[in-house]
């Protein structure tokens, strides 16, 4: 699993990790039913606490992207492949768009207006 973190990101670490995992699933490295590497390996590679990674994984489970199964570890949820991955990627990109908009002083409603103006 390839994870990328933005060093200048001011968001809490667990949100950044959740975003990185969302992107990794979104770009197709994992199909539904595939097992994620254990949280402690992800934490070790990122040099952060396992609990932070676990918190990110739980957030993603609550979003419906991941499933926790006893004895099978953490797996990508079994909905149709493109749907889950595509939605995860869209959610992630939209988040990033929101942040970028905020940097230019635009809020959520401004973005919605822009979306509605598009053909």
């Amino acid at each position: 699993m390839l994870l990328t973190l933005d060093l200048n990101d001011a968001r809490p670490l667990h949100e950044q990790v959740a975003g990185a995992i969302r992107r990794a699933i979104g770009d197709g490295s994992y199909a539904p039913g595939d097992r994620l590497p254990p949280a402690r390996d992800l934490a070790g590679a990122l040099g952060i606490n396992s609990n932070t990674v676990l918190r990110a994984l739980r957030d993603l489970r609550d979003e419906g992207l991941l499933e926790f199964r006893r004895g099978r570890g953490v797996t990508v949820a079994g909905r149709p492949a493109g749907q889950v991955a595509g939605r995860a990627l869209l959610v992630q990109r939209t988040r990033e768009l929101l942040e970028e908009a905020a940097r230019y002083g635009y809020g959520r409603d401004d973005l919605i207006t822009i979306l509605e103006e598009l053909p």
Partner: protein, 323 residues
Amino acid sequence: MNPRVTASVWGLLVTAVQIGLPLALRDRLPDPMATHWTVGDRPDGSMSFTGDVLAVTLFWVVPWIVALVTAVEGRTLSRRQGRMVWWGGLFGMGVFAVGMNAGIVMANLDVADWTRARLGGLHPLVVVVLACGVAALAGYLGRGERDAAPNGHREPPRLRLRAGERAVWVGHVSNPWLVLATAVAGGGLVVLLALYLVGVVQGGTVAGALPGLLVVLVAGLLTSTVSVRVSDGRVVIGLGPLRVPARRIPLSRISSAWSEDRYPSQVSGWGIRGLPGGATIMLRGGQCLVVEYRSGGRLAVSVDDAARGASLINALLAERVEP
């Protein structure tokens, strides 16, 4: 040399010797014949003449058929390590089978009954040494070309790293069968020791079963799961559920990485296979991450999502500022 033709001819030759030698000397052999000797060259096992011929023939024919099937299937012979084991096994096993047959026939020749057959202490040693020598020679002669552009070699997709971004890759693989074998060995060990402590089993039984269980347990703990991570300028391969021992390879020692399909049949089994410079950490057949050292050696490890790991290693290598 076509391996299939050579294996067929060699196999038929050995089979002919296995059956022909005892048959040709039938009037000079006792029935039953001594087939097993214990310490002090005392025969302690016998078989009827037919049983012996059948046993020595099957002892050769079964591995021969396995070798023929693997040659037809072709995957084993596609890699140098597989070829060396295949050629070495084919000829070493043949020499060993013929030597064993000849030893039994010579020991039984002209004796009144099987309890008087004497093998001579030196014969088994000579057969083993000869077989090993032939195996080594056959393996060397049959090694073929170096694995230059191996089968299933995949150029990893290029990855661009952006400034101010930290990228890590984590790969993981675990073989449920090896995990099961490890758990069974561990459980067996505990049960055995408990039974010994309460006095149900004797010390001799424990001593007999202990080495096997320990070997499976240790091998399983080392190679039932493996985790590979690429971060902080190095590749870390952690073996076993504890990730200990771990192999740490600084990126400065690596020249490139790619993913490749390798199978246990090509690297002669599961576990850590091959010699340093050409080793494979094999847990399951399929995608492997291969790292090539600047010194020319390679290390492969079977792991899921290997292509992405290779991409990251190459991207990090491309960014390195050489001292």
